[in-house]
Symmetry: C2
Subunit: 192 residues, 2 copies
DNA sequence: TTGATTGTCTAGCAGTGCTAGGATCGAATC
DNA sequence: GATTCGATCCTAGCACTGCTAGACAATCAA
């Protein structure tokens, strides 16, 4: 059985290598540069090997997205836990979210811009995605205010952050003044 | 000179046909289906004709985007002008914006998701884009509140709308509860 | 009727995601 | 230790993409 186990380990290791390489390549040169050929060359295997791990390119994007979701959740929780009081907690969360999007544009794209074949807001939504939303809900739910559903509030606040993140990165919003926009969002939307 | 004029007219007409056909095809089957071959076939010309009007596919997307920007500006102004008081004006604007995005997903993608080769938030930004932002600013500037720059407020409110529009359409947010989200945004962000 | 200038098309390039089928290698059996 | 046999991997190729060079035909001025 040891031989089989070793093979399984090696296979899992290669799968991690594929995802990590795809992510690296995407961050370096954008997702357009992540072609199956280039990816295969980088991991030093032939193209068809990719298809023995994933159904196609879309599933590779999905794998990067799930990895990113876990990191985003961790970043958000970490920022929230280091802040005092609801108001500062929400502000720290917002900054951490936008910072993650700015520092990992390709991962953020995989999560929210590209089609990674993932189900959102459904029962069969992968756990990391649900957990990322949960991480937002933990800090945002407590500032929803009376009569406002915490989930609905979180969705709306999240949408605002997402809009700032994408429009800024796409050059639709001037990159300065990120901080005052965050202040505005937090001061007005959150009930502390 | 009349012959030249006729030719120029016919050429301009064909250019409109290209843009309209690209838009129609994109709304019907998504931008992925808008290939140069299919587009050429639909307008009953060969592929290279497209390149005598536009530098490439990206420029065609850009043309659709500009058309959409003008319509979006008109829709927003129309909704705002038919509402009484700042609060209702902002709410009507928000609904009109989200409605436009939902009814014209391909155009909205051309504007804000895809690369149409357009410059945003700069001096050489095309007029329709500037005007669309101006349309938002007209109604949103008056509810920015004391000490908040109207432009900055408009950017932030716009980002929130954009986030709601994209996340909803991509299936990241459940499509029901659009109205309460709008209410929340308007009630909290706008100072009336 | 020429000659030149437009305008348009056919054919092709390099690249894409993905896959069928054959070669190769290693583990288990005799 | 030789031999089967199944898993693993690669070569080669398909149909498609955006884009372009060069041939061809239609139109105009002389």
């Amino acid at each position: 059985m040891s031989v089989q186990e070793r093979k399984q380990r090696e296979r899992a290791e290669r799968e991690r290598l594929i995802v990590a390489t795809a992510r690296e390549l995407a961050e370096q040169q954008g997702w357009d540069a992540v072609t199956t050929r280039r990816l295969a060359e980088r991991i030093e295997y032939s193209q068809p090997v990719l298809y023995s791990h994933f159904r196609g390119k879309r599933e590779i994007i999905g794998a990067v997205a799930l990895e990113g979701a876990a990191e985003l959740a961790a970043a958000v929780r970490d920022a929230a836990s280091g802040a005092d009081g609801p108001r500062e907690r929400v502000a720290a969360l917002a900054r951490a979210y936008l910072d993650f999007a700015a520092r990992n544009p390709a991962v953020y794209d995989a999560l929210f811009q590209l089609d990674g074949g993932l189900a959102f807001a459904q029962e069969d939504t992968p756990e990391p995605l649900k957990d990322a939303f949960a991480a937002l809900l933990e800090s945002l739910g407590e500032v929803a205010g009376d009569g406002v559903h915490p989930g609905l509030f979180t969705e709306t606040f999240w949408a605002a952050l997402h809009g700032l993140a994408t429009l800024t990165r796409a050059g639709r919003l001037p990159p300065e003044y990120v901080e005052p926009r965050v202040e505005l969002l937090v001061d007005r939307l959150a009930v502390v």
